[in-house]
Symmetry: C2
Subunit: 243 residues, 2 copies
């Protein structure tokens, strides 16, 4: 049987989602627990990885499981064995050929920036920019990122891949109590793409880059164009969509 | 010169406010930094201690300082030397006889309870009760705590002191997105008093204790009456008031 889990995690104390030797990762913690319940090695496949310190509200992963067990019981067993910074929100049965990564039709990310005073209680959950940004400029600039583009400018410098074309379906810029929340919904995102777009939008909000320059930056397809990669702790994988 | 600082902290990784041998405390971190800036031992006196894992939005403390330094410079120096889970929000000069503990006229505490699903991202900041509570019963019960009473029932069992009389000036019960926030403003609070009152109010919300029983519990002045001490991570010292 193939199952799909929806889970949330606090990325603060993890070296990212993906398994690595001798490092604490979300994938490993979940696989350890499933293997324990199943009595036989279980591997999980997520919608994609998240970097060290990045959080997830609704990450998704599939796995195959031999043991017969009720969904609710399996969920409770997992949550009682998992560390307190990961939580399984839902388990569903899916078709044998469902794939948590290849079947993704859209993903949603959210990034939080504190424009008010430094807040030690949110230091791991909101980027402590602690200064004002021009929100109207950011709102103007983000529109240039919407649509289908080659996003090579906004990927990780060392990352080579075949296809840099992605579609950003929807963006949003919201302000509440000095916390600026910028969200992107897209068909897919390249490595560091959200954090590089956020870094650029912060420069726009500072007046260092004009909104219209985003258009040029996209055209150049040059990874040296993006000014900086925004810190990971403000980033949340909010949703993953399937057909 | 005597100074008053207003500061916030994330209590998660501290063994409480008060200095203890070989333990990480807020008092010690601040004294270490002030001593370093002053080049001579500086001791601070707070409005009161907070327990391990309890947070503060506006804690206050006074200290005497020899070195001549501008307030803004001193604040910046402190924040640059302090660990990222403590933040100095304000420094003011006060009279030589001002006392951060003895001059308190009121304090305000807030306690947060998640009645929705477990949220790993807020596990250190909101008590994960993860079930419904009857808010109307809690609102009815909390009224019996308002006013001047002997609060011996709600103190720490091992704590002996002369005077258990305190006045609760104002209480509030608010619900937003499944987070129940209960706040108390009072002339002073005994050790564990807020967490014991919260433990009792949770039992009221579960229907295990009737609101009117609070009246009896106060009268009994018996520390065995309070059902349990609510967990520390939901508690915030929100404000300290002086004349």
């Amino acid at each position: 049987m193939r199952y799909l889990i929806t889970f949330s995690y606090d990325g603060t104390n993890f070296n990212g989602y993906q398994k690595q030797l001798n490092k604490r990762t979300i994938q490993e913690e979940i696989e350890k627990v499933l293997t324990k319940i199943n009595n036989y090695k279980v591997l999980i496949t997520a919608s994609g990885r998240t970097d060290s310190k990045v959080h997830a509200i609704n990450q998704k992963a599939h796995f195959d499981f031999d043991k017969k067990i009720q969904l609710e019981k399996l969920k409770n067993a997992m949550n009682s064995l998992l560390p307190d910074d990961i939580y399984i929100k839902r388990i569903q049965k899916v078709k044998k050929d469902f794939h948590a990564r290849f079947d993704v039709v859209a993903k949603e990310y959210e990034y939080k920036i504190n424009m008010g005073k430094y807040n030690p209680l949110e230091r791991n959950y909101v980027y402590q920019y602690n200064d004002k940004l021009n929100i109207n400029l950011i709102k103007e600039a983000i529109k240039y990122l919407e649509g289908t583009h080659n996003f090579k400018t906004f990927t990780k410098t060392t990352n080579e891949q075949k296809n840099y074309i992605r579609t950003i379906i929807k963006t949003e810029v919201k302000l509440k109590n000095n916390i600026l929340t910028i969200s992107f919904k897209g068909t897919g995102f390249l490595r560091y793409m959200v954090r590089n777009m956020i870094g650029t939008l912060i420069c726009v909000g500072e007046g260092k880059i004009k909104p219209v320059e985003i258009k040029e930056m996209l055209k150049k397809q040059d990874r040296k164009c993006a000014p900086f990669t925004a810190r990971p702790e403000g980033l949340y994988l909010k949703n993953v969509y399937y057909k």
